[in-house]
């Protein structure tokens, strides 16, 4: 078994339950599910028993033991959506995709899941595709939404040049693209995240050119400050278990479109970053 399957952040013999979750989150972000052999390797390297790891992996809905599709469809079947026709929408999606809730299409395009409330009852019946909310969905609209999802709901076209490669990234949790088409840094749409440090909370734009450290932000961050970065769509913190190789501040992971993870150092001024395109690691 190749040793690089498990994130480098796994610290031998020193893993509490909380650290285990962040290790699993990182694996889930990398593979979009938790492969069995990787979990076995985590058990080996952390010295925890496989039973505990399996228990945690099956307990949380955020983890999946089977491969997930590129697009995640969540159909709300909460009370309000239920009375407004949520089950009919769910049935229509099921018949169009030929899968049941919790399953993934054989071509790995779609994963369907039902949720019990999305907190948007007034919009019901509501479905969420890759972080995009579709309110008042009728069965006739399902086909169009699926088509839209296939072509990319938040596609921001980045024209590439042979010599440089801008990255298109998305949130590891909600799968929503983090690209911001309304701004330009280094000639390309930048990555938009929310940052917080001290009692400040504001937006930050990062150049999408790999290796460029151009940023633009709402509040000037003092040098050496470690900031927390959040997804502007689902508001989840972008955090994995990895530490910066240069200054050991926490790394901020983002999913690269087409596969792989890019990690940037959360310390202002530190140029630590890492690109992992599934096997090949560039520093």
């Amino acid at each position: 078994m190749p040793a690089d399957k498990v994130p480098a952040s796994v610290n031998k013999g020193k893993t509490g339950m909380g650290e285990l979750i962040s290790i699993l989150e990182e694996i889930q972000a990398k593979y979009s599910y938790l492969p069995e052999d990787v979990l076995r390797q985590v058990a080996e390297e952390t010295g925890r028993s496989l039973v505990d790891i399996y228990g945690v992996a099956t307990f949380y809905r955020a983890f999946s033991l089977v491969p997930r599709g590129k697009h995640l469809i969540s159909v709300c079947l909460g009370t309000a959506c239920h009375v407004r026709g949520g089950p009919a929408v769910a049935r229509e999606i099921q018949s169009q995709l030929g899968i049941k809730p919790g399953q993934t299409t054989p071509d790995r395009e779609f994963t369907l899941e039902t949720v019990n409330c999305l907190g948007a009852c007034a919009l019901g019946p509501v479905i969420v595709v890759d972080g995009h909310y579709f309110p008042g969905v009728k069965t006739s609209m399902v086909k169009g939404i699926l088509q839209q999802a296939r072509t990319g709901l938040d596609r921001v076209e980045v024209e590439t040049d042979q010599r440089i490669f801008p990255l298109e990234v998305s949130c590891a949790r909600c799968n929503h693209s983090l690209m911001d088409a309304r701004h330009v840094i280094d000639g390309y749409p930048p990555v938009r995240v929310t940052v917080s440090f001290g009692n400040k909370h504001g937006w930050m734009l990062l150049s999408s050119l790999y290796g460029s450290h151009e940023v633009s932000m709402e509040y000037e961050i003092p040098p050496d400050t470690i900031v927390h970065m959040f997804c502007p769509h689902c508001h989840a913190e972008l955090i994995g278990g990895a530490k910066c190789g240069e200054c050991s501040a926490p790394m901020v992971p983002m999913i690269v479109r087409g596969g792989g993870v890019v990690q940037i150092c959360s310390r202002r001024g530190c140029k630590g970053h890492m690109l992992d395109l599934g096997g090949v690691t560039l520093d």
């Binding site: 028993s49 228990g55 307990f59």
Partner: protein
């Protein structure tokens, strides 16, 4: 030493003693299902409920996990406790009607009918087998998985475990395993569960005669002639 009152009797116990141990020391019977000497208390079955406190502040707690407190007033068989215990037994019986252990407990507590739909589950999630495997057999081969109604017990990935030694300890302590051993026809009872984690009795067509690896079978206590 901590002094507390159990059914108005004063008793002094060591710090860290549970209410269940204190009550048993005095000789008050408290039924238990998920409790076993030698395994850590878990508080899953709630059969050992007792009432603590007085007046409107009185509440039910599981005595196997509640540590003795100074001056605590405990009632082990008040009408509220008995009522709660009977309801718990009724629910347990509804989920596992074939279990001899639960049947005996229900009968001893005058539970004469079950008002709930019978589920015929093969597990009541008491966690005895999980603790047995971890604490006595030092294996950690089985554990809980899932959450809510999908919660269950099995080996990781539901595959043969590398750390399992097929000791049969989990089947030995299982209060629901009489269901697996006798299937639904007790006279056709067979059991390989003690030495085999996938009991052949589940596949009963293949084993129409008694094919028990242990004699007498520690799990179903049926002697082979």
């Amino acid at each position: 030493m901590i002094t507390l009152f159990i059914n108005s009797l004063r008793v002094s116990v060591e710090k860290g003693t549970t209410l269940l141990e204190a009550a048993r020391f005095l000789g008050f019977p408290i039924p238990t299902l998920c409790h076993m000497d030698g395994l850590s208390p878990y508080g899953a079955c709630r059969l050992c409920v007792v009432e603590i406190g007085e007046g409107p502040g009185a509440r039910l707690v599981s005595s196997c996990t509640y540590p003795a407190e100074e001056g605590l007033k405990v009632r082990t068989a008040s009408s509220r406790v008995v009522k709660a215990r009977k309801l718990i037994l009724e629910l347990l019986l509804a989920s596992c009607p074939q279990s001899k252990v639960i049947q005996d407990l229900a009968s001893a507590h005058q539970v004469r009918q079950v008002r709930f739909r019978q589920e015929h589950e093969d597990c009541i999630l008491c966690g005895l087998c999980v603790r047995m495997c971890e604490e006595q057999m030092m294996a950690k081969a089985i554990g809980f998985h899932g959450r809510g109604e999908k919660r269950g017990i099995n080996t990781p990935f539901n595959a043969k475990s590398e750390v399992c030694r097929l000791c049969g300890g989990c089947i030995y302590v299982c209060p629901a395993c009489s269901l697996r051993c006798t299937y639904t026809e007790p006279d056709k009872a067979i059991c390989g569960g003690c030495a085999n984690l996938t009991p052949p009795c589940v596949d009963k067509e293949k084993f129409d005669d008694m094919m028990c690896y242990m004699e007498p079978c520690v799990a179903c206590e049926i002697k082979k002639d």
